[in-house]
Symmetry: C2
Subunit: 549 residues, 2 copies
């Protein structure tokens, strides 16, 4: 290893200058695993990221958040039975304690998955060169693996399995290298669940949470029944505007809002849902500073982080060359909030839903030990931990077969796949949408294209409320055979809130390139007809360029 | 099918006499499936138990529970985006709406499990005669199955997959045949999570929930952070005493308790955790009547329902003959609350944790349409639904391979396995425990033996508080090399509550028969020494019979 480099961390004065070791590399993981020896973690084994992280001496510990914890979260206690598990370390002890079924009564003797062999990831290639990974019931006892069905099929602890905690901890260190010492990971059953639990850690009924003015509808719908409202911060093409956030917080009027000043920011920094906006590094730094100023805890929800795409080169230009290797790929990624979080004021939410498959129902959070411990206590009294079968499948593929290197190669392949999909929908938009009415920014990440409608040009503009007009266009599109999401479904502020601008959200993740083009063509026709750009209802419309309003 | 029989349902007057069809049988399932035709349910397909139930005409609808719903639950709305899914039924429509990834980007091409072939369930037999079940990515499109990886790996709806809803709905009808019309099932990620969600449907902060005086510690620990306390109802060897419940409710003192009268009973009717008690049919009927009298909603938590064992015949007697066939097995089971629930005042919680494997993280609830709908709304904003990989594995095994008949055969095998285990621990207790100090009832279900300690005989009885004495004996057992759970960990009422009697809970699910015997022998030594029945700390103690205090 190269000698440690001195780095300058914002907000830390010179006298406390911190010397950090080099960030973890993929080779570093192998070296560390070799040094650590075989992972020994049986049924319901205790685990913590501390077992798998690099030396953190020299890094400061996270800030404490006691003053922000809810009544619910503060009152969570470790279970008596789980506390008693400490005695299981006594040599030779026999447990009649926990009601864990015996593995011989699990009727699944073997599980096999066929997965791609990096870097040949396509379905066609997998048919030829895919690898078959098998997990038996007693692979651990028989020395064939560090994880098996006897462990995965039994109960686990609220952190998730040691086997998967090792993988996500290493991955998080490679990608984010958090600049404070006591960061931990815990598995989740997906980020929607993680968000529900995190609201219950930080927000009391009546509280406001900050977010982008257009935001993930499920996040708002998760919050509302808990009595938590979203306060939407103005956005531009880079997403949330730091200055607007500062202004909102500086001028927060408790009387007017009927609520104390917000303590939490919920943000989707990359490929934001629904706008597709991606915050630049500078933007993230600025938002982090505002968060420090107002003591805001940041929920960094990043399902689309690895759907950052190649730079958009335009309709007829040559594509940008793909990343040369894993290192170049990692460097091309915009830094995460977690990577600049010197105080432990960020919970990063990762998910395998968009990068492997939603049906795994596995994701993970990374935050300070204090917050992760509260989260895990809640896990113990709710979903416990993700499906062991899912964990085992992910482990066999990501850890035992692909390794970190293969997983990054998969993510590069996905980057190129989403680049192709985005470029296809943008080409269709260029071809089929009337530009005087519909405009858009090419997204740099994610799966969404945010189409702005210049509704001022609509013949009924003066007489029809904007939401009615939006519905009219939505139904016109359905009539033409395309389902596209209404922008108003994504407003952060609900109730009587009326947006001033009109948007539609289109995803380029789901349909084939052909179907996408067809759908955009249909949408173009629906818009044209609704805006009175053409006559007959079924009239075929060509390229919109040159058509006047 | 035989003609419908007239049955008498308690609480329904003669003038409303209800004519019900025969209960669903396994052959009835096959006939109905044939009649219904192929199950067509693709990615995130809408589903409901109504698609898979017998004709319910003639049965009354469930009571409404609007007056019991919490602020949180009442305010849950269906998501705008999910509502828009109705348009997906339009022929030829292309969706750019939902952000569902495309199946070709899921890197799992094939999943295979090796499982037993009924009735040869042992690990040894499975090695010889086990069957290999394979799921491909596009089995549905290619006509090979009703469920495949392309569906299971994508997002699903809050009910769980149609494929598994069909199985659990049919299974529930075979076993419980609920006597009201609008009962529904929804999958859960396990009963602990289901309980957390159900508390949030029915209980506000400050409320009490009724339960057995000793109860599942996790249930109490799930409730406490929500500000919900347990009120423990007296028990006997059949579990919760109906008259005590009536008395507690009739005399509920709002001032004294600082809380309104409870609206919810949480009960584990079969093989109760920790006491092992099983409520008889008569007891269940009596409790249901008390619930009707006080308008109590019943949470029937039944993880151990199918761990009902053969009658205990004593240490040296011949075992009772196993059930002759599936029908005899079903008849031998104690009726569920759901089967007597004429008003829809029961939520039954089933789980695959104890009967297949905890690591599946799959269970299901059965309740009236109104309550299941509230539950599913919560699912949508939290864990969504169980792992698709788990659902697919269960489907391939339970539905496609075993069928309902094979599954019941598996449950019979499990019944005999737990009978053997229980008989082994009871034999060890007979041999190694001092009966003047330790007494027990042979459990009829579950995985727990509840050992009562006659602590009045302890030399320090007069001078040592009961909980200190309990700890002393616990630590003495640890010292001897056995971990056994302290009874006080399971008290329903926490805080300053001091139990009057002393118990320890031993499980017979986990250790081998040999280890169990060894553990009970060690516990016997620990008790004897603690009670001063023998001298030297390491003195080997024989059969406890005949030793005086």
């Amino acid at each position: 290893m190269a000698p440690p480099t001195a780095i300058d961390i914002e907000g830390v004065t010179d006298t406390q200058a911190i010397v950090l070791p080099d960030p973890l590399t993929i080779n570093g993981v192998s070296a560390r695993r070799t040094k650590a020896g075989k992972l020994v973690a049986g049924t319901a084994a205790f685990t913590s990221s501390d077992q798998f992280k690099s030396e953190t001496s020299g890094k400061p510990n996270a800030k404490r958040w006691d003053h922000y914890l809810t009544v619910e979260s503060k009152s969570r206690q470790p279970s008596s039975l789980k506390t008693a598990a400490q005695y299981l370390r006594n040599p030779g002890i026999i447990s009649l304690g926990g009601g864990l079924p015996c593995a011989e009564n699990f009727p699944i003797e073997e599980l096999t998955v066929k997965v791609p062999s990096p870097p040949h990831f396509s379905e066609q290639e997998t048919k030829v060169s895919g690898v078959t990974l098998t997990a038996g019931k007693y692979d651990v006892a028989e020395g064939r693996s560090a994880y098996d069905l006897s462990i995965a099929l039994n109960y686990g602890l609220g952190t998730g399995s040691a086997q998967m905690i090792r993988f996500v901890t290493e991955h998080t260190e490679i990608v984010c290298n958090p600049p404070y010492a006591d960061w931990h990971c815990a598995l989740t059953v997906g980020s929607t669940s993680a968000l529900d639990q995190t609201f219950r850690i930080f927000c009391e009924r009546g509280d406001y949470v900050l977010s982008e003015e257009f935001t993930f509808a499920s996040a708002v719908e998760t919050a509302l029944p808990l009595g938590i409202r979203f306060a939407g911060v103005k956005m531009d093409d880079q997403g949330l505007i730091a200055e607007s956030m500062d202004e909102m917080l500086s001028n927060w009027n408790v009387q007017e809002r009927g609520a104390r000043k917000p303590r939490v920011l919920y943000t989707v920094p990359s490929g934001q849902n629904p706008t597709g906006a991606t915050q630049s590094t500078e933007r993230r730094k600025a938002i982090y500073k505002v968060a420090q100023k107002h003591d805001i805890y940041i929920l960094e929800d990043e399902p689309y982080y690895f759907l950052q795409m190649q730079p958009y080169t335009g309709p007829n230009a040559a594509p940008a060359p793909p990343p040369e290797n894993n290192e170049a790929f990692l460097k091309a990624l915009i830094p995460t909030y977690l990577s600049m979080d010197i105080e432990g004021r960020v919970m990063r939410m990762d998910s395998f839903s968009k990068v492997i498959a939603p049906g795994t129902r596995v994701g993970w959070i990374t935050a300070s030990a204090q917050i992760v411990e509260r989260f895990v206590r809640h896990n113990e009294c709710s979903n416990q931990n993700p499906s062991g079968i899912s964990q085992l499948v992910l482990y066999k593929m990501l850890d035992e077969s692909w390794g970190h290197s293969g997983y990054l190669q998969w993510l590069i392949a996905l980057r190129l796949e989403y680049t192709r999909r985005r470029d296809a929908i943008l080409a269709a938009c260029e071809e089929f949408l009337p530009k005087e009415i519909v405009s858009w920014n090419p997204p740099a990440a994610g799966m969404f294209l945010w189409l702005k409608i210049n509704h001022h040009l609509h013949p009924s503009y003066a007489t029809t409320p904007i939401l009615d007009l939006e519905e009219k266009i939505f139904l016109a599109a359905v009539e033409k055979g395309v389902l596209i999401s209404r922008g108003s479904w994504f407003t952060a502020e609900r109730n009587d809130f009326v947006p001033q601008e009109m948007f539609f959200r289109a995803t380029f993740a789901a349909a084939t390139e052909e179907k996408m083009a067809e759908a955009i063509e249909r949408f173009g026709r629906a818009v044209r007809e609704s805006f009175g750009l053409v006559g007959g209802e079924n009239g075929k419309v060509g390229n919109g360029n040159g058509h006047g309003a």
